[in-house]
């Protein structure tokens, strides 16, 4: 029978492997760290003068643009991380190494959840490293905010990771991945509250503001923003949790051995190797 220690060992094995892979892929490690720093150190400084911010919740005073953009950049870290996991799912599937995961006797939904958790833990570590660097940039949320941010980072990371998993089931080949990035990452990032508050977007385009309000990424960012300043955004919690359930459910269906795409189409090895 499948007992609790067996489930635990499986989860641990997947988390350890994901962690080792992250550490070994130096380029990925540095890219993940440098990307938000470029935004913070260059974009945010240049943008500070362009964008006037009023006092909006959860902030209680006037803030510099750098302070506003930090939660958005954490969201970006998690968004990229989710897509990175998606990319590695497609890659593993194409290279055949995913099969070693799938022949585990544990149920497939559990294996997917383990994969998801492992990816999220990596993204949470990245987020805290970034927060530490931002602290030297004088972006200093209240000390307890760093603790309060943890559940928000986990929930937001899970939602974006689940989106990546779901997308990976639609991507048939590695070559199609760049297209998905263009159609998912960039619109999600720019049409959100990550870089500018929604009331600012509304001044420019009410339609875009409406899109941003519907964008789950906006809610992941707001969730983190509020938590960092010891506040709770209930709408964000509900939207992010709802989207997580939706995306994860979809991914589990897509990877199901009876219903999913595995059963409907032959893999690349099928056509070549027979």
């Amino acid at each position: 029978m499948m007992t609790a220690p067996i489930w635990g060992r499986c989860l641990r094995a997947i988390v350890v492997r994901e962690g080792l892979r992250f550490v070994h892929q130096r380029e990925r490690f540095f890219a993940a760290l440098v990307r938000p720093l470029v935004w913070l150190g260059i974009f945010a400084v240049g943008f500070r003068a362009v964008l006037g911010l009023s006092i909006i919740p959860p902030y209680e005073t006037y803030i510099l643009y750098e302070e506003y953009v930090v939660p958005g950049l954490i969201g970006m870290i998690q968004l990229f991380n989710g897509m990175q996991s998606s990319l590695s799912m497609v890659y593993d599937r194409e290279m055949g190494s995913m099969k070693t995961l799938l022949v585990s006797p544990l149920p497939r939904w559990y294996l997917l959840v383990c994969k998801l958790l492992a990816g999220v833990l990596v993204s949470v570590v990245q987020a805290y490293v970034f927060l530490a660097v931002a602290w030297f940039w004088d972006v200093r949320p209240p000390p307890l905010g760093y603790v309060a941010a943890l559940p928000a980072l986990l929930l937001g990371g899970l939602m974006l990771g689940a989106l990546g998993l779901l997308l990976s089931s639609f991507i048939k080949q590695l070559e199609n991945f760049a297209g998905v990035m263009n159609f998912v990452i960039f619109p999600m990032f720019f049409a959100s509250s990550a870089l500018y508050p929604i009331w600012r977007i509304r001044e420019g385009s009410p339609v875009l503001a409406w899109v941003a309000e519907l964008n789950p990424f906006t809610h992941a960012v707001e969730l983190i923003r509020f938590a960092l300043y010891l506040d709770v955004n209930a709408t964000a919690v509900l939207v992010v949790a709802g989207c997580l359930a939706l995306f994860l459910g979809g991914a589990i269906l897509a990877y199901d051995p009876g219903r999913g795409f595995w059963a409907r189409r032959a893999g690349p090895a099928e056509q070549g190797g027979g």
Binding site: M2, P5, I6, W7, R9, C10, R12, A13, I14, V16, R17, L20, R21, H24, Q25, M95, G96, S97, K99, T100, L101, L102, V103, S104, P105, L106, P107, L111, P257, G258, G260, W262, A263, R264, R265, A266, G267, A269, E270, G272, G273, G274
Partner: protein, 254 residues
């Protein structure tokens, strides 16, 4: 768990599978008892990979049954999968991780305890003569060594059935012989049941079993000697050629 001697380790019965219009497998049936090496012979496109995907439950079978020690794969996938070790056609070790890290990952996926993983890893690596390379990255191993590590990995959870999908692809003649010897020895010494997919006729030895798969159908299944006897004592290659030629002209509509 005591298993009656007559229950085969692997039993495939009436297995059919289609991808849309294309029928990849059509009424496939055969069985493998303990301690038997069975070569699954078939040309490219015969349906070998589809058959492997179904036995490893990459996806569910649509019709027919797959049983491991009498345990139905669809009804109790966890129990059935726990007794199977698989070596896939494509290399699946993580080249950036060490041999040990790769093996520990696999052991964890099967829910083995840390202690047991350590024991099994030492045992399997010693068997293949790579115990002293455990902490090296897989990248630094040769192709033949990687293959042997993959076989060691498949045996880590002590399965009763070992599946290998064209495991000698990309190996030179000498390494091919080594891997083949190694797996035959496992069969004899451990009573492991082996299903070895290949399109290389000479990988089936004289006292092995053979399943001839052609365009998704089993043309013949049984001991190599029997197959040759039925074909008036010609070589296995000749017998295979006659069977597939008689079945359907190559290049016709599927």
């Amino acid at each position: 768990m005591a298993v009656p001697a007559e229950v085969p380790v692997l039993e495939v019965e009436g297995l059919s599978h289609r991808f849309g219009e294309r029928k990849a497998l059509d009424g496939v049936s055969f069985a493998i008892p303990a301690g038997r090496f069975v070569a699954l012979l078939g040309l490219n496109g015969a349906g070998k990979t589809t058959l492997f995907s179904l036995i490893t439950r990459l996806y569910n079978n649509q019709t027919g049954g797959i049983r491991v020690f009498g345990v139905d794969m669809r009804r109790h996938p966890a129990r059935a999968l726990a007794r199977i070790g698989v070596v896939f056609q494509q290399p699946t070790l993580d080249p950036d991780l060490t041999v040990l890290q790769n093996l520990r990952y696999h052991g964890g996926l099967h829910g083995l305890s840390s202690k047991r993983i350590t024991e099994s890893t030492r045992e399997e690596l010693t068997r293949i003569g790579l115990a002293d390379r455990a902490d090296e990255r897989v990248r630094s191993l040769s192709g033949g060594q990687r293959r042997r590590v993959e076989i060691a990995r498949a045996l880590l959870h002590r399965p009763d059935l070992l599946l290998l999908d064209e495991p000698t692809v990309g190996l030179d003649i000498e390494l091919r012989r080594q891997v083949l010897d190694h797996v035959h020895a496992l069969c004899r010494e451990r009573g492991l049941a082996v299903l070895w997919a290949t399109h290389l006729i000479d990988e089936a030895w004289a006292d092995d079993g053979v399943v001839v798969l052609h365009r998704g159908r089993v043309l013949a299944a049984g001991p190599v000697a029997e197959l040759r006897a039925e074909a008036d004592g010609v070589s296995l290659g000749e017998a295979f050629g006659r069977l597939t030629a008689a079945a359907a002209p190559r290049g016709g509509a599927p």
